[in-house]
Subunit: 413 residues, 2 copies
């Protein structure tokens, strides 16, 4: 089955709200194996909504709308759907009773204009709204099917899950499943080259690379007649990708790099402490974004000044004087200092120039040194990142977390 989505609302076209409903509905349709090739947004305007509905129904058999079910005069989705399908609007008594009860519960009388929320196109089915007054509508005529949902996400999402999903599942042949592999340590282009043969001529499952800040994602999507077959097709392609890309793949779906690192440390019963200069607390912040990080993370220090590096980590002033605060030596001493002083298994030290000021010809903005100290491990790396201050901070923490991840994996072997 193929569907289209029409989002209705002038507030969308003014950019006052972000259309999260469209993303939610898209995900749900994909999971049901319903193909979606087109989404449209129009304002609260009968003429343009009519045109959008007519065009969509010419291309596909199922159209889902969101918005325009409110009580005011500019809410006209049901009116327009009824007109396009050539059906009259009729009163749906149970919906009217529900709306009246909704107002009674909050001690108010139902305003007269809420009456129109209980009207639905003749022959249609009202979809109950547990979170608001506007019922949804499902209406079919001559092979065409329109489902109208309310605009507020807190009403639309439960209505979809409870009433629409079962209706659609009963009609759908086949299912779609997808899985995202998350990679770091390789750029989008280099990755595309590495797996050019797998990207070419793909049909089912499909494979799509997506670039993100400091990482690349590979989405595998399979269409099959059953969940088991779709998952088997994904597993097959995933295995080929893993054989080729190995440790570049750090996680799947919603897994973050910091969550993977915290998970590896927890498995090993090991702890981590971090000493940050140019990243200014971002690394500690990312690690502590992981629920339960306290089992592996004891403390972090943000040592912006040379005095702080000396007092909190024991980095000798003489060394900083001699080689500069941004140097592999200082990164190493920071990593060792924070490890030794806390008794943690692993210590990280980061020093660099995040910009926009502070760069020189010899040590430009984006130059970063980061070091890792651990059991029998002493590593230091130089990197040159581009971007603004926040991107340099972000890319640095990404590289540091990846170094720790790979080191932990290697130590396991």
């Amino acid at each position: 089955m193929r569907a289209e989505i029409i989002s209705v609302g002038t507030e969308l076209l003014l950019g006052e709200i972000v259309d999260t409903n469209a993303a939610f509905l898209s995900q749900e349709l994909a999971a049901l194996g319903i193909e979606l090739y087109h989404r449209t947004t129009v304002g609260d305007n009968a003429g343009r909504l009519k045109q959008a509905l007519t065009e969509a129904l010419a291309r596909v058999d199922l159209v889902i709308t969101s918005g325009g079910l409110g009580p005011t005069d500019d809410d006209l989705t049901k009116e327009t759907v009824a007109e396009v399908l050539g059906l009259p609007l009729v009163l749906h008594q149970p919906s009217l009773a529900w709306i009246e009860e909704y107002f009674a519960k909050t001690g108010r009388c139902m305003p007269e204009n809420n009456y129109k929320q209980a009207l639905i196109p003749a022959g249609g089915e009202a979809l109950p709204n547990r979170k608001g007054t506007a019922p949804g509508v499902s209406v079919r005529k001559e092979g065409k099917w329109v489902i109208c949902l309310p605009g507020p996400p807190q009403e639309l999402c439960p209505m979809f899950r409870e009433y629409v999903r079962p209706l659609l599942a009963a009609e759908s042949r086949g299912v779609i499943r997808s899985r995202v592999l998350r990679l770091c340590g390789i750029g989008e282009s280099a990755l595309a080259k590495e797996i050019a043969d797998l990207l070419a001529n793909q049909t089912n499952p499909t494979l799509a690379p997506l670039a993100s800040e400091g990482e690349v994602r590979l989405r595998i999507t399979a269409f099959a007649e059953s969940v088991a077959k779709a998952e088997a097709a994904i597993a097959d392609l995933e295995q080929k990708l893993r054989a080729r890309l190995g440790q570049m793949i750090y996680g799947v779906d919603d897994e973050t790099l910091e969550a993977v690192v915290v998970g590896l440390l927890r498995q090993r019963g090991e702890t981590l402490a971090v000493a940050e200069s140019c990243t200014g607390g971002l690394l500690a912040n990312r690690i502590t974004d992981v629920p339960g990080a306290s089992t592996v993370f004891d403390r972090g220090v943000v040592v912006y000044s040379n005095r702080a590096k000396e007092e909190l980590l024991g980095v000798p002033a003489a060394v900083i004087e001699q080689v500069g605060a941004v140097s592999p030596e200082v990164a190493t001493l920071m990593a060792r200092g924070v490890r030794d002083r806390t008794g943690s298994d692993w210590g990280i030290g980061i020093t660099g120039i995040a910009g926009p000021g502070g760069g020189t010809a010899e040590k430009p903005v984006g130059l970063v040194y980061f070091a890792l100290a651990g059991p029998g491990v002493n590593l230091v790396r130089e990197a040159r990142f581009t971007g603004d201050r926040q991107q340099i901070k972000r890319r640095t923490t990404q590289a540091v977390l990846d170094l720790l991840r790979r080191t932990l994996l290697a130590a396991r072997e």
Copy 2:
């Protein structure tokens, strides 16, 4: 002028990402006085993109696309625009040089498939991309105008502001100017009530409240025949709002709360050190996001364990034992400890329960204590935040920064 927006990307139709670009562009067009009646989303499919472009160009004279400018074979926005307009793609030498330099800076060779990012429809103008490799394109033919922007919001937004907005403003009759006032310490509903008379019956300038994480923004937009007149109208309304809202307004436009706080400290020649438990480095990270923060920020410590609180800040184990780590006493001792040990003018201490685990009936998830120690100042506050772990961290740092800001402003008077 009338415009349409076409968002391109299969990941949008799969619901993997929410289309924030469409909302951003819609807002910008509204502010420029350009009418937008229709938005479309299609996948990475040449045929459907071609159809959407053709339909849009039949309805309006300006189409803005986002996405599909990447280096891989399924990125085909420019190719399709060139085909629809009947123009060949030609190499844009400065863009190629920029892309090569982008890779050279990070010590990598440009992969061959990035070459296609430097191709633009003949006669078009390349729009520089400061944050990535894909240049944007502005191309006109026979009264029709297409602007292609990259998909990643961190690339699209600055490109629009720097290059597209001036191009569009030059075409628009009259000028639109807007100014955003940023507030904290008040919710959206309470604010709407406070300024109900100013929100009602507004025509020009318009006033729109927008809720955001831990703050509210008020956008004033004026349409006038000259910049001077638009700015005068904005200044007039801003003055009324400032008279009523006072210190709830912390900044304007892109000013962040952390930048305002760093600016106030710098004016006074004072320094700050922070001690964080539940916020895990987010406060230090926000402060160090401000360029030049090093002049006022000496260090921060993330003290997740009780031992770290004792060793780095001198919080007695006996106190923690007696009143618990999440208590006003410990927050106060953390703020004083980090101030005394660093000799900074101001010290901040934060302790709380970010969740999802660790809450009890007495001390639930979201309970936070934060303290401020300064010259003649010893403040401690209790707050109960809702939301997930990251929202609680974010809301806590917002409240802490606002407390410091208000304290610095009061000290000035």
